[in-house]
Symmetry: C2
Subunit: 183 residues, 2 copies
DNA sequence: ATATTCCGTTTAATATAATTGTCAATCGCG
DNA sequence: CGCGATTGACAATTATATTAAACGGAATAT
């Protein structure tokens, strides 16, 4: 998200110091320092106090912030965001960029040995495809089963029931794409 | 602001329970309950997690939220928001609505005995006017001084230096208006 | 040179948000 | 009815944001 950099940019554009803004907003300069360095995520109430003091509306702030995010092109490995809740079942799904603002969703997936997306076949609109980068994985799509190794790939209609299982002894990495994004 | 009611409305419109949304967002149902009841102000990070799970962007959320705020017409006494930082010098300025979205700013002001806006005359664009509701107050505008009592009023160009002092023994209440809003 | 002021950062203490575990209420279903 | 499942709410604990105070650097004045 990077609330910090955007807040700093806006504050400077308005010619305010951290202390000046803090006084207007009823917060402290230390708080603003921490927020701007992205060392804390401010409460909505705190952020609103800061923006009111500038002044700029919340809607405006997030509009330009998310525009910036959409314009982002390059992502460091650590910037991919984990979207698999609590790494359920040894599965890691690391998303490139903010899929909510794009038509394309790319994931860097890791399946630990024994990992399994489970038999609950959720089916969503669109297509998805991927290439195995490391290790091997058993993929089931609409009843058809195949063991894919590094370099192999898959491509299917997302509405078909599908399942991924790592039945090998090493972790398996996959780079996949999905359109439109699903959550 | 009322983040809670808006979140609840959106969540229900998408047919999600607190627990379902919590699971998707990686938070807990208890947290959502507290947020929806406006008993806490979520961190930006938490709110983003929730909105991503719905999904809806931050910009969208605050756009419709602040639209609602603008559409608000009636305000209970307790809904007026204090804009005088820490009641400096016994002065309370309670603003009606969110002035950031309107051309008109109305304040319910209270000056304790001895209260003083101070001699630092900040001058901003626009006009301001008010009526004394209770008590009396000494108003100085561009050098001219007058003691106003309940029922009296004032109206002047905001660019003229001005000062309010309660030199009486009782609190003084004023209802004032300003356009455009100043902070 | 040396205070002086203003800036942003950092640290330890405090206030607040988030989690955990539980509760009563509600809704179907047998 | 009576049972299990699901809902939103709440109290106590844990995690995190915020404060208050101090620090060091950079610019300006004495």
């Amino acid at each position: 998200m990077n609330v910090g950099d955007k807040l700093r940019a806006i504050r400077k554009k308005h010619g305010l110091s951290q202390r000046e803004l803090a006084a207007k907003a009823g917060l402290t300069n230390g708080t603003i320092s921490l927020i701007e360095k992205n060392r804390t995520s401010p409460s909505v109430a705190s952020l609103k106090s800061l923006l009111d003091a500038i002044p700029i509306s919340m809607a405006e702030f997030f509009t330009i912030l998310e525009e910036d995010d959409s314009a982002k092109v390059f992502y460091r490995a650590q910037e991919l965001t984990e979207i698999s809740p609590s790494h359920q079942g040894g599965v890691s799904l690391r998303q490139l960029g903010n899929a909510a603002h794009h038509a394309l969703q790319v994931l860097h997936e890791t399946y630990e040995p024994g990992a399994d997306t489970g038999p609950e076949f959720l089916s969503h609109e669109g297509e998805e495809a991927g290439v195995v980068v490391r290790g091997s994985i058993e993929v089931t799509v609409d009843g058809a089963v195949s063991l894919l190794n590094a370099g192999d790939g898959y491509l299917f209609d997302s509405r078909l029931p599908h399942r991924f299982r790592n039945i090998g002894t090493d972790p398996c990495e996959i780079v996949s794409a999905c359109t439109p994004p699903s959550f």
